[in-house]
């Protein structure tokens, strides 16, 4: 019975009294759900949950927003974007600010919607802001391929797609185990996680998003960590398969290739990005519009980098709740629902008000 399993998982978590364990939930949706479900409130002091870099909005660098604003205001281009990006601060303003200056910013739910928009508005040049990890990248590839198939001339993407493998590696010393992002793993499958375990001693569990899945995964990680041997497990097999989504991998390989990528707060991580291949260069907004090299300047006071690396908790940033709130975000981590700062602000009052 589910409730019996949940009780058992809870008791393993709450009664843990061994050496301190650091667990990083990589995915922003996990951060959000863990807060919403109140799981942080039942954790003993020796279990430290760290929120990792797995919110694409949070790791999108300042210069990406600056490039999008340049296209919107200087080149008069219609920007189609996931809603979260609209309020992310660039160096001096956000896309929302650009909109109030007359820029045409359209919110879309899917990259495919932005192709539709371009088809229906042939008089406009349309650029889709292509952010996201393995889960989202195939949708951008389908959009570009479809656009090329019909020789759509008024559509391109501004790319900032990222892959998680190198980020897992870059942050491997920040925690004893990862709660791996379930929906990234639907695409990648398990092989790269086995490689991390076998070659880099990185541990973790692929986890779903329901309360029972998160609790049982935490219980599993706690019990495995005590064996002092690297481990990895797929605890979300109803959605994640061993081999991942082959068709998605092939699609992405045919459309994009790997490149270095800047992560907000973490800097450049080699080979952690994806960009369009030469065959698709007409759909690459950077090539199409000759965007000048922009060096973004994030707000100096913002500690998003430390937050994303798990070095500090959001409330340890001096601006948290004092100047930086979900209504007036200073850094990206306060913007998206999946951002650690926003999750702490919305649900973690008992954690930061006492500090």
């Amino acid at each position: 019975m589910l409730s019996k399993d949940i009780e058992k998982a809870k008791s393993i978590i709450m009664n843990y009294d061994g050496p301190p364990i650091k667990i990083m939930e990589v995915c922003g949706t996990h951060t959000h759900e863990i807060f919403k479900l109140g799981i942080r409130n039942i954790l003993p002091n020796n279990i430290n949950l760290i929120s990792g870099p797995g919110c694409p909005v949070c790791v999108t660098p300042t210069e990406f927003i600056d490039e999008a604003i340049y296209l919107a205001l200087e080149k008069n281009i219609t920007i189609c974007t996931f809603g979260d990006l609209i309020r992310v601060p660039g160096t001096s303003s956000s896309l929302g600010d650009a909109r109030s200056k007359g820029a045409n910013i359209q919110m879309v739910y899917s990259p495919l919607d932005s192709v539709e928009y371009a088809i229906n508005h042939p008089e406009q040049q349309v650029v889709f802001l292509s952010v996201g990890f393995e889960t989202t990248t195939p949708a951008s590839c389908i959009a570009v391929r479809n656009a090329k198939n019909i020789e759509l001339k008024n559509f391109s993407i501004l790319g900032a797609n990222k892959t998680m493998y190198q980020a897992y590696l870059a942050l491997k010393d920040a925690a004893d185990a990862y709660i791996y992002p379930g929906h990234v793993c639907t695409m990648t499958g398990m092989s790269e996680l086995y490689k991390l375990r076998d070659e880099e001693n990185v541990s973790g569990a692929v986890t779903g998003f329901s309360a029972s899945e998160i609790l049982s995964s935490l219980a599993y990680i706690i019990s495995e960590t005590q064996k002092n041997k690297p481990f990895v497990a797929n605890l979300y097999p109803r959605v994640v398969t061993e081999e991942g989504l082959i068709k998605a991998k092939t699609l992405v390989e045919n459309t994009m290739e790997s490149c270095d990528s800047i992560w907000r707060g973490l800097g450049i991580i080699e080979k952690s990005g994806m960009k369009l291949k030469k065959e698709y260069i007409d759909y690459d907004a950077r090539a199409k519009y000759d965007i000048p090299k922009i060096v973004g300047k994030p707000n100096k006071g913002c500690k998003c980098g430390e937050v994303l690396r798990g070095d500090i908790k959001p409330f340890e940033c001096p601006l948290f709740s004092k100047g930086c709130t979900p209504e007036h975000p200073i850094g990206a981590c306060m913007v998206s629902n999946e951002g650690a700062c926003s999750a702490y602000y919305k649900y973690g009052e008992n954690l930061w008000k006492k500090n």
């Binding site: 589910l2 058992k8 995915c27 889960t135 989202t136 995964s217 019990s223 068709k247």
Partner: protein, 72 residues
Amino acid sequence: MCVGLSARVDKIKNGMAVVDASGVKREISTELIENLYPGDYVMVHAGIAIAKISSTDEDEVNKIMETIKDAK
């Protein structure tokens, strides 16, 4: 932006499907998923199906808790 939604497939045609996510109907791409039929459940993200859902979380969680018990 990263939320995955589970949805039931209502109709499929040419790699696109109409799905029902808790009463909300939407057209999505299903070209990445093989052997999909009306009535199946899929995980939807950014307008595409990213996985077929094979069961509820109950069995899954039961197995996880069994593993932990075996380990002790």
